[in-house]
Symmetry: C2
Subunit: 182 residues, 2 copies
DNA sequence: CACTAAAAGCTATTGGTTTGCGTTTAGCCA
DNA sequence: TGGCTAAACGCAAACCAATAGCTTTTAGTG
């Protein structure tokens, strides 16, 4: 993988852009490697060599989209910060596009590197919230505890229990980990 | 879908058997629809029409394999029952074949029906354990609470955090939900 | 400025996937 | 029991995604 500005970087960028555009235009089902390659202005063999197959390419694009673009907002207390973050997290992840990205990220991921990256994103956001609360002098749970008690249940239900998720569920999970830290 | 003994049932059975045999013989990577169809004694078009593609077929087979074959053993107390079940659950699901089945089950599952079935299997097992404990007069948590506090963290880590799972983790999760029920 | 290795373009070929049509089978009602 | 209907399957041709071999371009280096 060359430095930004090199040909490799240009190809990667144009291919990723092609995936995003074509997904928006005609849906995920209609996507095919030759189609993406044509839109990106490269040959299919280039895509196959760099990504292996369509799933791995979609996984790469999905991880990019799941990267949070900013730190959680400071609302003055651990409870308020964590509740707001959890509600937004559930809202984004449980939406149809969010679910599609999660599936794509998990699917074309032979070694689990992309899935690990997604988990790291959530852990980083939680770290920010917890560190801020600790700076205020509040007692804070471990990041791992929050992952187990909030992130994991949300993701589990998104993946295995289609339907029946709302902001209230996220609030209850946060209340549970703050009021009864295991 | 016809009753057992009908042609549809015979075809489904022979195709599923072919998938299991060929997976064991030459690995999941080598599987193709024409290969499975030939082993099953049907034509590829039959498989494509019934299952859509290889992923959906593998998803069906994976769900079958994830079905528990017996109720959890009675060890005399809720804590012992739940701990033993969680340890076995983690052990089976975190193993390479278990992870492969989970991935397959999630993968070819457009409407989430197969994933929901997997979740239902775990909930049923937990229900048995909790009902038995309630029959003894023990105080028991909700099934949903156990799913959130034990099943979800295990599955999340299997899917998003490759590596670093052991029986001790399952024991700590069970202890957490029994000693500090949210 | 030449040199080397990695990456992309090009093309032929393979084989997985789709489709249309005829045939069989299972369920159903008289 | 016997015909009727619709769903499921077999068959075969056509399509197109996927792969591989080879050439050409490009980026980095002495």
């Amino acid at each position: 993988m060359a430095r930004p500005g090199g040909r490799s970087a240009r190809v990667q960028e144009s291919v990723h852009t092609a995936v995003r555009e074509l997904t928006a235009e005609m849906g995920r089902e209609a996507l095919t490697v030759p189609l993406v390659a044509a839109r990106a202005g490269v040959t299919p063999s280039t895509v196959y060599r760099r990504w292996g197959d369509l799933q791995e390419l979609l996984s790469d694009v999905a991880v990019e989209r799941l990267r949070p673009d900013s730190d959680p907002e400071d609302r003055g207390s651990l409870r308020a910060d964590l509740t707001a973050w959890a509600e937004q997290f559930l809202d984004e992840m449980a939406s149809p596009p969010g679910r599609a990205y999660i599936r794509d990220a998990l699917l074309g991921d032979p070694d689990g590197a992309n899935a690990g990256q997604c988990s790291a994103y959530a852990a980083e956001q939680i770290d920010v919230v917890l560190a801020r609360a600790a700076g205020r002098g509040e007692a804070v749970p471990d990041t791992e505890t929050v992952v187990d008690r909030v992130v994991a249940p949300v993701m589990y239900r998104i993946l295995f229990r289609p339907g029946g998720l709302d902001a209230g569920y996220a609030r209850r999970l946060v209340a549970g980990v703050l009021d009864a830290p295991g």
